[in-house]
Every structure is written in structure tokens, then in C-alpha cells.
Symmetry: C2
Subunit: 418 residues, 2 copies
């Protein structure tokens, strides 16, 4: 297969399909989503069979248990995919929504209408359920999608793609509204991210290496998520109980998520009191602690944090702790070493809470709550295609609205410019 | 001078300054803008003198009259710059504005806060007043700026830059909040657009060649404007008087602007009647007409439009005319040949007006008004840094809000994730 020609063809078809999807009624799009759910339900045997092939190949290729776990698509995964589709059906359709219609002195009326981006390219690794999740969010927001999953999930993804097509055509939408790349050739990714004539935006989902590579080579905008080096700052005027609960939750609720705390900052005036309690509880939870010099004078039994620790996303039961002089030092540390993802302050001080919200340059800034709340579902977006650490276009959790843009609408009555 | 080191230094200083500008009060920013206006007023002689040097060089280098006209900075230009600064002072400050604060089932309260982008790089050609205009919009929106003007305006721009610095320091803001590149070395542009660590977004203002080059080579997001191939579609149910007025205004109000009509589409059912009148009036205005075959059977005395005409931005008194079968053909033509900038329909039909608004994929879609209204001032944005033909981030006229982003703010009361 000539990969370049093949990708061009996919692109062209996606562009054509995008025009039809962009103007599809909410009812039609929901019908397609429910049709996909029905097809997934009706084809469980085929899906599990296709997945078995992928799992066998993966085992032969020596993939580790975690990879195999992510790759597996059993009845429970399929249930989850179906439930996910129903949730997307229930979300309000952002497309066509008109806001801020105001009359101008000239007499024209001007406002904004929310519109799809066009064609979205999604590049992801193992998990086959991403295929359904990404396709459904893109479709509901009126976009066509080209999906490129990991080569290890090729059979699973093609089986899922067949169900997606069934849903689309049952609703009268073009099957090309969602296309899953059929080749595992790596050149396909290179082509997908460099055809601005057919693809409007790329959303990579996967490890940092994948995302960095794509951002570097892409010729289209990339909605991306790099590190999640999140902080909690316990201020001098923090409520002690809240501080302890939030710090524990932010670290130990889940270790592998991007909104997990990686560095704890503690005001020097409360460090002794707060750390005494917290360190024991972190240790009881099995968290390895690494502290700055000042931390280690208070809690000598912990390892020393190196300069590299402050900019490391552990994604593991490891936490670095630093004692800081005041909120200025905390904000400076966060803006310098953090990844502009999610950072929280624990304080009862009104003025400091306002300063933290304004001055910390992160996609989510939080007062008196756990960093673990930085999530599309928790924020009420319904579902998320990812969390953006970019500033342009979308920042923070990206839901349906992040997959749309706005155009100006102008209503006149024969108005001409003076 | 080592250009790479120099640009790195500018970038580093801009990044540092951006943190201070981002949290500056509205009052402080306005004070700086008024200080710039005062400095421009007090240094008219120096400004005109510096400009004289540029004009002399330009004449020696054989620049044409249009270029010299754009380069000239006399008392009237300076008056305009001062007036522009006062207008930006009067605009509401978008930074820090919090919207959509809602309680979630978990008990946390979530909303969005508008924040500056950081450091904005502006690349522009001749006109020295762009220096003040761009700097003032970026400052008011809390961003630091690096400006790279045309080499032919280097003396004028440096003189303007000195006034800008005076205003900044008088208000207690860092002079590095607005930096004008001091070298005319072309390498400076190449460096400016490839240092994502220091520059968050690039706004090129100039000809299509410049913008295409920058978009191709940039390693940072570019807010860009390419063509303005704008259409007016006169529907079968158009009010005849409105149609004639709008078409004339859209073409003849100004020829060199991006929102000027370049192609007129006319429903075949009204073509004879409407064109009869319009063609005479266009000819009287000195507009050269180029028609499709059907147009030429109705108005034989005009030139034939070639395929290239449909995708040409004339920026001149030239208009292509095409007779179409219905709104479907009109929308198809616009989405295919247009530049997704600004397109208008003239119709009294409710359903067709709604279809046009929804289905035309342009940054501004207009019913019964001239395309010439697509403009930041006319839309009430106060001022514009440019018009974006992109879909990502900003679309259409870009004002202060387009130079900002939003972050999530989360307020809790000790909340942890269950």
C-alpha cells in the first residue's frame, strides 16, 4: 500500500464527510451514537474475538502485564463503551449555539455561533475503548475524525470501527465521518500530522515521548498534554485538617494520573506541625518521601530531594516536599518548576487565595480542594478528550466545546458601511 | 551582533516581564498607555526626524509611492497613534474576568478566569503606527510583546519604542514589557518564531507571502490571516434595493481591504433583473467585471472569468460574477473557492437565511448587510490586532479577548475526591 496516497484519500473523504456532519441535526448525531452502542452490543463475540488476536500477538511480542491489561477488551470494557456512548448522547450539542447577539451603533446585530473545527486527527496508544470515546465526542461536536490507534490494537480497533460505521450509516451519516487508519505503517502518523488541507487539529493521547514527537513534527495545531507536575501549597493560615486531607487525597487517591500532586510545598511557619502528622500518614500509605534540606531537619528520616525532583512527574507513590518562606516563594516555585497543569493552595486567608488564583499560571488553580478534581467529569464537561497544558485554543480539560470554534454572525436589514 | 544570542536575551527578558504585566492592575496598565501617549506628544520632533531618515533611505532604495505613503509618520499619524492609545485605555480589561462559576455535585465551585497568553511576537511591514497599536493591545491584555517591524522603518520604530518605554517605566512596569527588535537582520525573524520557551504566539501582519512563510516555519502557534476572498450571494427572494446597495457597498466602499467582496453570486431567477442595474453601476464606479458563461449571455459586454478568478483576491476594482442555480450551489461555491473569511447572503427568506448562517464555513457570515462590516471596531471589540482566518483559538476579528486564554478556577472548602 502506498501510505501517502492512502492517507490522502482518508483525508479527502474526511473533509467531505465533515461538511455533512457539521450540519447534521442533534437528533441524527444521537441516533448514530445509539446505533454504535447497539452495534457494539450485537457484536460482542466478534469484538472479543478480534481482541483475542491482538492479545495473542502482544503476548508473543512480549508486552508486559500493564500493556496487556490496557489492551484487553472483554464484556466489561464493551459495557463501558456502550455506557460512554449513552453519556455522550445525553450531553448538550454545542454546535450552532448562538451567544452575545447585540445591536451595534450601525444597526447591525452581531453575535457568535459555535461551529465544529472540521476534521480531527486522534493518535493514541493501546486502549481500544479510546476509539469509541474519541469518535463519539468528535461526532457529537460535529467533526469528522481520523483515528490512528496503536498497532498492537489493530484488530480490536478495526472491529470497533465496523460497529461505528454501522451506527453512522443507520443514521444516514457518511461512514467516512469516522475513519480508523487500517495500516500499522508508522509513516501514516507522519502523514496524518502534516496534511493541513484535510486535518484541522491533532489530539495525541499517550506518553510524553509520543506527544513531544508529534508536536515537533506537526504542521497542524496540536491540542496536547505534556506533564502533570502538580503542587499543593499549605499556607501559614491553612486549616490543619483540610491541609492534611487535601494533601493526602491529592497524592494517594491515584498515583498514575496527571492531576496527582508530585510536590508538596509547606509554609515554614507550619511545616513542623503539619509535616509531623502528614509524613507518618504518607509513609503508612507507602509513599516514598524526598525532602529539601529544611524538610529534612524537621523529618530527618527521609531522602534528600535533588534539583531534578522538583521537575519530575513521578506518576508513582513518590512525593517531593519543600518548605517555603511564604506565598511568593511558593508561586515562584510553581511557575518555575511546575508544568502549568493544576496547582492548589490550602489557606483561610482571603487575600492570599485571590493572589494564588491570579498569579499561578496553570490550567487549573484551586483553593482548598484536591488537585484530583481537575477532570472533565468533575468540572461538568460531561466527558473529556484530554487535558490541555497549552494556552492557545483550549486549556485544561477539553470537552465538546474544546472541539469547536466560534464564527461571527451578523444580521442586518440591508445595512451598508458608511 | 550574534542574532541568536540577542533574540534569546530579548525572549528571556520578555518572559520575565510578562509575569509582572500579567498581574498588573488595570489602572497601572492604563497609566502606562497614557504615559506612552504623552511621550509621543512630547517627542514629535524626534519622531518626525527619525522617520525622515527612513523616508530618505526608502527613496534611495527606490521604494514606490504606496510604500512611502505607508512609511510616513507625520503629525497626523502621531495624532492617530495618541488617539488609538486613548481608545485602548477606554476598553474594558479582559484579564482576571471570571465567568461561569457553578457548584458541582461534589461541592466544589468551578469557573473560568481570563488570563494573558504570555509573550506575543508581532511581525509586520512598513507602517510605524502598528508598533503602538500592537504594543498597546498586547499590554492591555496583560501580555509582553516583542515587535519586529520592517527594516525600512527601523529608525521610526526605534523612536516610537523609546516613547513606549517612557510610558511603561513611568507607570512602574518593566521597560522589557514591550521590546522592539533593534536589528534588521532577517535571521531575527527566524529566531523569533522558533523559540516556544519565550514566545507563546506569533501574530504576523503583512502580505500573504510573509504570512505563509511564517506559518510554514514557526514552532509556535500563529494567529494568521491569509486571503479575504469574500462573496455576496443575491438570492431569488432578495429585496432588490437591498441587494444592489449591499453589493455596491461590499465592492466599492474600499478596494484594498480583506473584507471587500471579490465574487458576486446571483440566483439565476433574478440574475437578469439584478445584473442589468448592478452592472451599469459597477461600470460607472470603474469596476472591471468578469463573468461566468451565463452572466455573459445576460451582459455580453464583459470579460470572461477564468477558473483562477474564483479563487483570486483582487484587492482592486475588479469583480467576478457567477450565476448560480440556488443556495446549494452558492454555498458549495463559497466553501470551495472562498477563503473562509466573510460571506453574505441577501434574502428575505427566513429558512434560507438560517441555512446560510449555519452552512457557510467562514469566520463571519452575514445576512442582509455588507461584508465590509467584518471588522473589530464594527463588531464592538474596540480595536483589532488582525482578522484570523484560522479556526483554532481565534476566528474573525481578534481584539483584546483574542490575546487572552482562560484557566479553570476551583474553589473548595477542604474538598477531596471520593
Amino acid at each position: 500500500m502506498n501510505v501517502e496516497l492512502y492517507m490522502n484519500m482518508l483525508g479527502q473523504k474526511a473533509r467531505e464527510a465533515s461538511r455533512l456532519v457539521a450540519r447534521a441535526d442533534t437528533g441524527i448525531k444521537n441516533k448514530a451514537l445509539l446505533g454504535m452502542a447497539a452495534a457494539l452490543d450485537a457484536n460482542r463475540a466478534e469484538l472479543i474475538d478480534a481482541n483475542r488476536k491482538d492479545l495473542e500477538n502482544a503476548r508473543q511480542n512480549g508486552l508486559d502485564a500493564a500493556m496487556l491489561d490496557r489492551l484487553e477488551m472483554g464484556n466489561k470494557t464493551i459495557d463501558g463503551m456502550i455506557e460512554g456512548l449513552r453519556q455522550v448522547v445525553a450531553l448538550p450539542d454545542p454546535v450552532g449555539s448562538i451567544t452575545d447577539m447585540n445591536y451595534r451603533p450601525s444597526g447591525i446585530q452581531v453575535g457568535k455561533m459555535r461551529v465544529p473545527l472540521g476534521v480531527i486527527g486522534i493518535i493514541y496508544e493501546s486502549r481500544p475503548n479510546v476509539t469509541v470515546e474519541a469518535a463519539s465526542l468528535c461526532l457529537k461536536s460535529g467533526n469528522a475524525t481520523i483515528l490512528r490507534g496503536g498497532s498492537e490494537a489493530i484488530h480490536s480497533n478495526q472491529a470497533v470501527a465496523a460497529c461505528i460505521r454501522t451506527g453512522l450509516t443507520a443514521a444516514g451519516l457518511p461512514a467516512e465521518a469516522v475513519q480508523v487508519v487500517e495500516t500499522t505503517d508508522r509513516e501514516a502518523v507522519g502523514k496524518l500530522i502534516t496534511m493541513p488541507e484535510y486535518v484541522d487539529v491533532i489530539v495525541p493521547r499517550g506518553g510524553k515521548g509520543l506527544i513531544e514527537r508529534i508536536s515537533r513534527d506537526a504542521k497542524v495545531p496540536v491540542i496536547k498534554h505534556l506533564d502533570g507536575i502538580c503542587h499543593v501549597f499549605i499556607d501559614l493560615q491553612a486549616d490543619r485538617a483540610k491541609a492534611v486531607n487535601i494533601a493526602l487525597n491529592a497524592k494517594t487517591h491515584r498515583y498514575g494520573t496527571c492531576n496527582t500532586m508530585e510536590t508538596l510545598l509547606v509554609h515554614e511557619g507550619v511545616a513542623e506541625e503539619v509535616l509531623g502528622d502528614l509524613v507518618d500518614r504518607f509513609k503508612a500509605a507507602g509513599v516514598e518521601l524526598r525532602g529539601c534540606a529544611q524538610t529534612r531537619t524537621l523529618v530527618p528520616a527521609i531522602k534528600e530531594a535533588t534539583e531534578a525532583d522538583w521537575s519530575t512527574e513521578y506518576l508513582a507513590p513518590v512525593l517531593s516536599i519543600k518548605v517555603v518562606a511564604d506565598i511568593d516563594a511558593a508561586i515562584k516555585h510553581i511557575n518555575h518548576y511546575g508544568s502549568h497543569h493544576t496547582d492548589a493552595i490550602v489557606t483561610e486567608n482571603y487575600t492570599l487565595s485571590r493572589r494564588f488564583l491570579r498569579e499561578v499560571d496553570s490550567s487549573s488553580v484551586i483553593v482548598n480542594a484536591s488537585t484530583r478534581f481537575a477532570d472533565g467529569f468533575e468540572y461538568g464537561l460531561g466527558a473529556e478528550i484530554g487535558i490541555s497544558t497549552d494556552k492557545i485554543h483550549a486549556r485544561g480539560p477539553v470537552g465538546l466545546e474544546g472541539l469547536t470554534s466560534q464564527k461571527y454572525v451578523v444580521l442586518g436589514d440591508g445595512h451598508t458601511r458608511k
